[in-house]
Subunit: 394 residues, 2 copies
């Protein structure tokens, strides 16, 4: 077995991203849950302290202008943009992913126009997307059509208004074909909304390149923004004039401080704003995004695939045959940055893994999830995680 330890050492030594680990607060735990809550970037505590003590405590109301609070949603949106392949001016940060799914889906139906009264949604999606899609359908007079992602192309037609898809399945770690499915939706004349929660920050998304219409995502997984940090909304620039939000708050008004009774939507990404932005979490996220300075997302993807390949190899070597089964696709083109292992006693196994310093998570009824954040997970972590798993299930 020591051959894998030696391999891990060599892979870590050759890793061009290895130095980035120092930009995070980590300990001896092997943290494979960054696909649920990213680790703390070292720059965050000092920034948050400044926001609380100086910006709020000393400048108080003046900070809306002097500390750039008011423009934070679009400024931080522009920091996320290159990570998801978007030019500036198309992303705004704020609200939760659920709320942004609602904005995007209702706006998508309105863009699709009359005669199109069906919303197609991934039936295996993260639950909130399905619940919100159901509400959006109910409130726009549409029918909801839940299908598996592979069935999507077959159900598209003249009645399709909008299609909501997850880029990576949160349970299985399967990466869906964003370019191909986007093209299929467009061929049918419908509008596509992608949920990037489990892909942004882990692999190239290429929103602009693939002509995606609308996208949403959280910032607390691979973007390490902190617990419940604000989500974001992407609206392709060509569609912004037609983005008709179901949540037209004063922050998305063309002249917010005019305090006028009639609503007039702001131009550009600002149209996705709603109410007063949550500044403490927003500026913690801004500090967290500094770790991406000079990092190429292609290098992140290459390391992510190498980590997950190596993990699967180590699992095969260390875990008794048949004890666990990977439900994550083996093909690189179909794999996100996590490995999900089906395991009969998964809840109990994960508990014991965590007791032994290997942190992943459990998804009911029988899935062990291991997320690999290429910015701070190394190959030695991967080898250790698989080795401890082998010991725990033996």
């Amino acid at each position: 077995m020591s051959e894998l330890i030696v391999r891990a050492e060599k892979l870590d030594a050759a890793d061009e991203l290895a130095a980035l680990r120092a930009q995070f607060v980590l300990d001896d735990v092997v943290y494979l849950d960054g696909n649920s809550l990213g680790a703390l970037p070292a720059a965050v505590p000092g920034r948050v302290e400044d926001v609380v003590r100086r910006q709020w405590g000393a400048l108080r109301i003046r900070s809306w202008d002097e500390s750039g609070w008011w423009t934070a949603p679009e400024r931080i949106g522009d920091l996320i943009a290159p990570l998801v392949g978007a030019a500036a001016g198309q992303i705004v940060v704020g609200d939760s992913t659920s709320v942004n799914v609602f904005k995007a889906l209702v706006a998508a139906v309105r863009m699709a126009g009359p005669g199109r009264d069906e919303i197609v949604v991934d039936a295996t999606t993260f639950p909130t997307d399905g619940y919100i899609a159901e509400s959006a359908a109910r409130m726009t007079g549409c029918t909801l059509r839940p299908v598996t992602p592979s069935e999507v192309p077959g159900v598209l037609g003249e009645r399709t208004a909008a299609v909501l898809l997850n880029h990576v399945d949160y349970r299985t770690g399967r990466l869906h074909d964003l370019p191909g499915l986007t093209a299929a939706v467009h061929t049918a004349g419908a509008v596509v909304v992608w949920d990037l929660c489990h892909s942004a920050g882990a692999l190239p998304v290429g929103l602009d390149e693939h002509g995606v219409d609308l996208a949403v995502g959280c910032t607390y997984k691979y973007l390490n923004g902190g617990p419940g940090s604000p989500a974001y909304l992407y609206v392709r620039s060509a569609l912004q004039d037609r983005f008709d939000s179901p949540l037209p708050g004063w922050n998305s008004h063309a002249e917010p401080f005019g305090m006028r009774p009639d609503y007039e939507a702001a131009p550009g990404a600002l149209r996705g704003r709603v109410g007063t932005p949550d500044i403490l979490s927003m500026l913690a996220l801004e500090a967290a995004l500094e770790v991406w300075d000079g990092v190429r997302i292609e290098a992140v993807r290459a390391k992510s695939l190498a980590l997950t390949d190596f993990f699967l190899e180590c699992v095969t070597a260390y875990v008794p045959l048949g004890r666990v089964e990977s439900v994550t696709p083996a093909a690189h083109g179909e794999r996100g940055s996590q490995v999900a292992l089906r395991c009969g006693d998964a809840g109990d196994v994960m508990k014991r893994l965590i007791e032994r310093g290997v942190v992943g998570d459990f998804r009911s009824p029988d899935v062990l999830r291991f997320g690999f954040t290429p910015l701070y997970v190394g190959f030695a972590d991967v080898e250790r995680a698989a080795r401890v798993l082998g010991e725990v299930v033996a």
Copy 2:
């Protein structure tokens, strides 16, 4: 003029709430903008540091359970409850005020039942309430009827589904008759939604006592929760079973970690949750609410009225006759905790006041707003503010 200075000293000496000022981070500035962004409570910076460094940095994902992150929205809702006269289990914290207005108004229309297709809204309301009401009307097939608050009783009828009102007008500081208007709405068989942004934390609200159906409010004004801190939603317990949210996220599911494709609403106030709560801001708010320990809201109200009375008296004494005009009602029963003065060159006057260490704000086109937070504003502050105003406009 020194008589007013002597009076201020005596009033401060007799003020039972005066000691609370030490629980805030303040300086020599007279801060009369707590009705826009409350000052920093001294307990907040240390708490936020603990949340960032220990709860997120060291415990990471474990904190959702071990640090009580998951249950924070309802736990902190129960801290706000006594301040607005609500028994526990009816308030949940999260999202922005705008988003909560949307939840409340759509749910109100659904509760009102068929045949009722009109939403009445205060035409002079804070803009976001009007914009969101328009969207709620559009999405529920209702007609929006904007009227001035005094016209509300006259327009209520069999078609009225829901009525959205502000407890205190953000510009004029006028306090509306919550008990009387609530009763009128109920007599008409409709559902009332109150926006408490400018009253909660400054005066008794009595939600339970007056049978209010639904209410929303921000936490960054008189509750001092910090810039953009999460808002809250009150749903009267008797109506919770019928609260049908237009934003049914996974956090409001009866079994959120069951990750089931079918939505089943949680019982109680939890039904108002949507997506993952914003933890940094949420727990900063929790620390901020500690200043209310042992504070009676009736004492806060008494001091608030004394402060605004004294301010009006000082303005009369110091400001040349006719230079400004109060648009805030003189009657105690109609006054919130702010004084709004109409002044031709209000924008310029406020700029000069701020340069001289007196911070209020300006609302277009001609209103100077001065907010009085009884927890940390004293009578000497009030005298100084009026005196500087007199010098500035002379």
